[in-house]
Chain length 400, copies 2
């Protein structure tokens, strides 16, 4: 067999996603791109900030001598310093630059952290609904994902997490604001989690690291407040990406930061630098390190996301859908009007609406709307959502 | 224990390298940067081609709309097309663009290929002396590296390779031109390897893939000719990097290409795209994909490397050292005048000369000179090499 059976099986299991995208592409070809409302992709909307584009053009026109060269595997020291300064503002914790590793996006950061921490068979708690890639990341490092469901409002279910801890638990993957639900975990919830993990550490006999995946940290709506997990949870590693705040998803630039309060922080940071090297990332792209250095403190532009969120929430709630208003990110995760969300999504496709089934995120009976699209697209989609509401709810209102 | 025992042990085993670099840094601080002859680092010498710098500045000043956005995990289709066209010229084989995956350098490409192919316990043959990272790459995917020594002239020892094949052999890592020896494998040697692997495949019952790591493909001296492994070996995956030909090592841009003749080529390419995604690379940096697209056919500038190679070879051979003239890359791998090369390198440090012990590449009793440095540095180092020759060889000449 040419391909590893594990990879072949993973591809087979994910083949429905490919099928879905193919159906979407077919729909677009048939109906015309502008007549299909594609809410299936989590690609951030918009361009990088104008000042960043200027900085890139400046560096490209007058390249400093080391612009494209190898640097230490952890990244340029001055860039790590800038990240550490921003983390102090965000978390209140004094990160030494040596605890920051520039990475190939947050996906790179998570793979690096997991490889540094896990031995084969070690367990990592993943909270559902989850970003589906987490399962692969854990398995890449020989780990075993253990799923804990969140509560009905997608907030942390501390009892479910407590029940998921075993003697082999080495880490927990946290994602606030959350993809796919938009849930933002408040500080008291994180403090509760801290207690649960501390109790768990008595059983495991070692630290349970929190891998805090925070690419949506700056995309938070007025109803919510982002509470940095590192401020509440001692053994936190922050995985950050500039895909969303600076609209640079294709450039693969982010970082990993070990909390100064984490157990064996310096040794762990060294191990992460080593893993950044040997996993084949080697270092984060050099030009982009230089580009993002001066934009650590910038606020993300939420205007489009706020407008889209408002339009969709109002229409969906008014049409009978059951949906928890998201505190952050750019997703809605409504309950499907029928238990089998694939049936609902087939009906949505008849209305030229594309979305992703909740089963892809470990929660059947829901679907994800990614509203990181042109507001005009959202506006034109509203009648379709209303018709779907009438068709599935009629006068009866929502299912749950 | 916070860090995985495997990673901790790997770091411990590599700690002598860190110690060596620390000693080098100490030497530079003490003697002054310009008085230390540092031949320890494989960083390519020089800047990107001027036309490439112009193209980067042009893209940065007038960014096309998708410059920084996500694209298919395999890369921009038109960039893959350009790579496929260049591979046709290099190998004579018609690569469909679908067989090309843009990657985070050759290191990313190798990790992707290994993850796609290997199951835990599968074996990969590595030819010594080797780039030390190969061992980690194989282990990242759960594989077991099996070392086969090359011949005394660093050419392939087909009998050693034959003896290394077992029922679990899934791949062989090939590196021509070679780091650290500079060896370039001629076509008849590769054809011999093809026969050995075909015989081996009878035992394994499946393909033995050749992972051909070719970052030095364009750095070949007039005495040698680069023979593309894909032209001689059916089941070849090319891993390429633009670190050396375009002097972009920090940018992490390269590709992986599955031979159109490889067993199950299309399925394997799909698996590589999948692994590029789930290993956390996601895609090769987008701006750099655009930048390198038009520079696939460019020749590398060898002027500095040729001059350095000539100066060092003449001086080393004239001083009694035993060294095989390298056909390519920018390394010399002389025999140490004493069996314990660490003793020789300590003496070299007294002459302010830094190099890397052969034991770091799986071949004790040798050392590596990376001559990707300023020719003026090489020139000023020549008296030191002569003194080392006198000290170790006296009038007796070389050791072997």
């Amino acid at each position: 067999m040419p391909v590893s059976p594990e990879i072949r099986e993973a591809i087979r299991q994910g083949s429905w996603i490919r099928k879905m995208f193919e159906e979407g592409a077919f729909l677009k070809a048939k109906k015309g791109l502008e007549n299909v409302f594609d809410f299936s992709l989590g690609n951030p909307y918009g361009d990088p900030p104008p000042l960043l584009a200027l900085e890139l053009a400046r560096l490209a026109a007058n390249p400093p001598p080391d612009l494209h060269k190898y640097m230490p595997n952890a990244g340029f020291p001055d860039v790590r310093q800038r990240v550490a300064e921003d983390l102090l503002k965000t978390t209140g914790l004094a990160y030494a630059p040596g605890l920051v590793v520039m990475t190939v996006g947050a996906a790179g950061a998570l793979n690096v952290a997991l490889r540094a921490i896990l031995s084969p068979g070690d367990e990592v708690i993943v909270i559902a609904p989850y970003f589906v890639e987490y399962l692969f990341y854990v398995r890449n490092a020989g780990g075993v994902p253990v799923v804990a469901q969140s509560a009905d409002d997608f907030q942390l279910d501390l009892e479910a997490i407590r029940a998921a801890i075993t003697g082999r638990t080495k880490a927990l993957l946290l994602n606030t604001p959350n993809n796919p639900t938009g849930a933002v975990y408040p500080a008291d919830s994180l403090r509760g989690l801290s207690r649960v993990l501390s109790e768990g550490e008595v059983r495991t006999g070692g630290p349970i690291y929190v891998l805090s995946d925070e690419p949506y940290r700056k995309i938070v709506y007025p109803e919510a407040v982002f509470s940095p997990p590192a401020a509440s949870l001692r053994n936190t590693l922050v995985a950050y990406s500039h895909s969303k705040d600076l609209n640079l998803p294709g450039e693969r630039i982010g970082y990993l930061a070990v909390s100064p309060r984490a157990a064996d922080a310096a040794e762990l940071a060294d191990a992460c630098v080593f893993c950044n090297r040997v996993l084949g990332f080697v270092n984060a792209p050099s030009l982009m390190q230089r580009v993002v250095a001066g934009f650590q403190g910038i606020e993300a532009d939420l205007s489009v996301y706020r407008r889209n969120r408002e339009m969709l929430l109002t229409t969906l709630l008014g049409s009978g859908f059951s949906v928890v208003p998201p505190g952050g990110a750019f997703y809605l995760f409504p309950r499907s009007p029928v238990e089998d969300e694939m049936r609902f999504l087939a009906a949505a496709r008849e209305e030229n609406v594309l979305a992703v089934p909740g089963s892809g995120f470990g929660r059947k009976g829901y679907f994800r709307i990614a509203y990181c699209v042109d507001p005009e697209t959202v506006e034109r989609s509203l009648p379709a959502w209303k018709r779907l509401g009438s068709r599935f709810f009629g006068r009866k209102g929502g299912r749950g």
